[in-house]
């Protein structure tokens, strides 16, 4: 049997350093125009997609439900916050402080509106699961999109344009960080544990005294709020939105980011969103062929590692710097971990005998 290391010692704080360092490096590069506007926007979209993908992970990864309606939640946040800043707040957005205070207020209100929709979409999850729930949430998402088409205040099919362009690198970075922080704290509490119980065995969870109904609704509402905030960031970056911005293909994108990154892990959801937002941009030189290459990458990822590129691992930051225990590490391995293992064993010139002996 393997010796178990005490998890409470040997903390690593590497990722606590990475967060501020990465911020200042990117900030500097953007300020000095070393990163041009085009790539700056892509970086911001990476962050926004990361936020929405992480919110999806709360429902699909942690709570084990199947939701395909993330773009629907996002659109509620995007529309509500944009209508607020454009039609109500704009005259008051005079100096920097007021502008951002009102922007944050708009994001929060947009998020809460999305949370309300999340509650409604969460209701079917009480009776349905798996494919059926996926279909219902997909339908719900589409319904929201069609709803924007008929609401006059939302500009019907034309959508909303000339939304104040207030989303910037600092706001996206801070929100990505806060979302990670809040999801981490949620997951590592009794609330998060009830979600995990629902995922692992709903009946057993209920029998252990957990109100699984409340846990599921909570996950849907919480995820919708965060996705709505992501939507608000999006509309204030693009400055125009229309109902088709948030079609089911966009929902599918988030499912893709999450599952290729590694479902069950917020870190992997974020990394998946970043990588798969950038890849299509890098592949632009291929022209139409990228639309073939891109799905191919996906299919291969899923075939060879259903746990995704990065597996179910969390960044050290998401584990409070605690080392991951050996057994979880083994269980959660993604493609990258397998590759690094293979490379290591090649370098050492010997196979991993120890693991076999240990079992």
């Amino acid at each position: 049997m393997m010796k178990i290391k005490n998890n409470d010692t040997n903390k690593t704080y590497l990722s606590y350093i990475v967060v501020p360092v990465l911020f200042f490096v990117l900030y500097y590069l953007i300020q000095t125009k070393t990163i041009n506007m085009y790539w700056r926007n892509i970086i911001l979209i990476c962050g926004i997609n990361g936020v929405v993908a992480m919110s999806l992970n709360l429902i699909n990864g942690i709570t084990g439900q199947s939701c395909l309606g993330q773009a629907g939640f996002m659109s509620v946040g995007a529309y509500v916050s944009a209508m607020l800043t454009k039609n109500v707040f704009k005259p008051y957005m005079t100096d920097t402080f007021q502008t951002y205070a009102l922007f944050v207020a708009a994001l929060i209100i947009g998020g809460l509106a999305a949370g309300l929709i999340g509650f409604l979409i969460g209701l079917p999850s009480l009776r349905l699961r798996g494919d059926y729930l996926a279909i219902i949430t997909l339908g719900f998402g589409e319904m929201i999109r069609v709803m924007w088409r008929v609401v006059p205040a939302a500009g019907r099919a034309k959508g909303i344009n000339s939304i104040p362009k207030v989303t910037n690198f600092v706001s996206v970075y801070i929100i990505v960080f806060l979302v990670m922080l809040i999801f981490r704290n949620f997951t590592k509490s009794s609330y998060g544990r009830s979600c995990i119980a629902v995922r692992e065995n709903e009946l057993a969870g209920e029998t252990m005294g957990i109100n699984t109904t409340a846990a599921k609704i909570r996950a849907f509402v919480f995820a919708a709020i965060v996705a709505g905030i992501g939507g608000g960031l999006y509309s204030h970056l693009m400055t125009f939105i229309n109902p088709d911005t948030f079609n089911s293909a966009k929902s599918t994108d988030y499912v893709l980011y999450l599952y290729t990154g590694g479902v069950g892990s917020f870190s992997s959801a974020l990394l998946g969103a970043i990588i798969f937002t950038i890849i299509p941009e890098i592949l632009r030189f291929m022209g139409e062929w990228r639309l073939v290459v891109y799905p191919l990458v996906l299919i291969l990822t899923m075939i060879y590692r259903p746990k995704g590129l990065f597996g179910k691992h969390e960044f050290g930051f998401m584990r409070f710097g605690e080392k991951e225990n050996e057994y979880e590490k083994e269980e959660n391995a993604g493609i990258l971990m397998l590759i690094s293992k293979a490379v290591k064993s090649l370098l050492n010139g010997k196979k991993e005998k120890t693991r076999k002996e240990a079992q």
Partner: protein, 258 residues
């Protein structure tokens, strides 16, 4: 006031009378055993006593409160815990987490406490973890706390299920065939644990079991069920010598397992 009570509970599944007129009045601290052939309705009785099924007729009471129609987790909060015949652990969670998940009602902090990690939150979490570790060492699972539950050997999975049920601080512990699939030495071990639980906790146990020797050795009272009907009830010696029981159950079982 009495602990868990069932008054004439019956349940039908589309015409099939799975359990008929089952009665139960638990005495404090006893070990009450329900035996009977496969398909007799034992698990169904547990499902009614723990809120998974609502009886078609009859009443389930806990501490004199009528429980019919209440949610499963409300049964748990009233002090009823159970294990499952087909193990239902939180497989991909660690052994320690299986217990902390079950210690839901010990959390006693709000959503904002957990999002902001207040000192109240930290204190409660520390306590939960300590209690979980204590419980693990009680069940001699402390060396395995980082294992994923699904990777435990079978016997230890059964043990973890009991530990997890205990984590909810039950007054009544319902064990559904805890010795199923165990070898004789594991059964010995299990008997040791059940005795240890009884001497260390203020608890009443209902045990469904197939291992006759085990039931005869540790039960205070026994009820025999066949085709959903109670055919005998009494102390182990009475049951052993009851001709109806011998014919309906013991005789056949002896042949089968001989």
């Amino acid at each position: 006031m009495s602990l868990l009570e069932a008054e004439n509970i019956s349940i039908e599944f589309g015409g099939l009378k799975a359990v008929q007129n089952f009665n139960l009045k638990l005495k404090d601290h006893e070990l009450f055993s329900i035996i009977g052939p496969n398909g007799a309705g034992k698990t169904t009785i547990f499902n009614m006593l723990t809120g998974i099924y609502t009886p078609t007729s009859g009443i389930v009471k806990m501490n004199d409160v009528v429980m019919n129609g209440k949610k499963i987790h409300e049964f748990t909060h009233m002090g009823i815990a159970r294990t499952f015949q087909n193990i239902r652990l939180f497989g991909a969670a660690s052994v320690l987490e299986n217990l902390t998940i079950a210690m839901q009602s010990d959390a006693k902090y709000g959503l904002f406490d957990s999002l902001l990690r207040t000192s109240k939150f930290k204190a409660r979490e520390k306590e939960i973890k300590e209690n979980a570790r204590e419980l693990l060492s009680f069940f001699e699972l402390d060396k395995k706390e980082s294992f994923l539950a699904k990777n435990l050997p079978y016997g230890e999975q059964r043990k973890l299920e009991i530990a997890r049920a205990m984590a909810t601080h039950p007054k009544v512990l319902c064990l559904d065939e805890p010795a199923a699939g165990m070898n004789p030495s594991e059964v010995e071990d299990l008997i040791g644990i059940i005795n240890k639980i009884r001497s260390s906790y203020d608890i009443t146990i209902i045990l469904i079991e197939h291992h006759m020797n085990m039931v005869m050795a540790i039960a205070d009272r026994i009820k025999v069920i066949e085709f959903g009907i109670t055919i005998a009830e009494g102390q182990p010696d009475e049951i052993k010598n009851d001709p109806k029981v011998i014919e309906a159950y013991l005789g056949k079982e002896e042949e089968q397992y001989a």
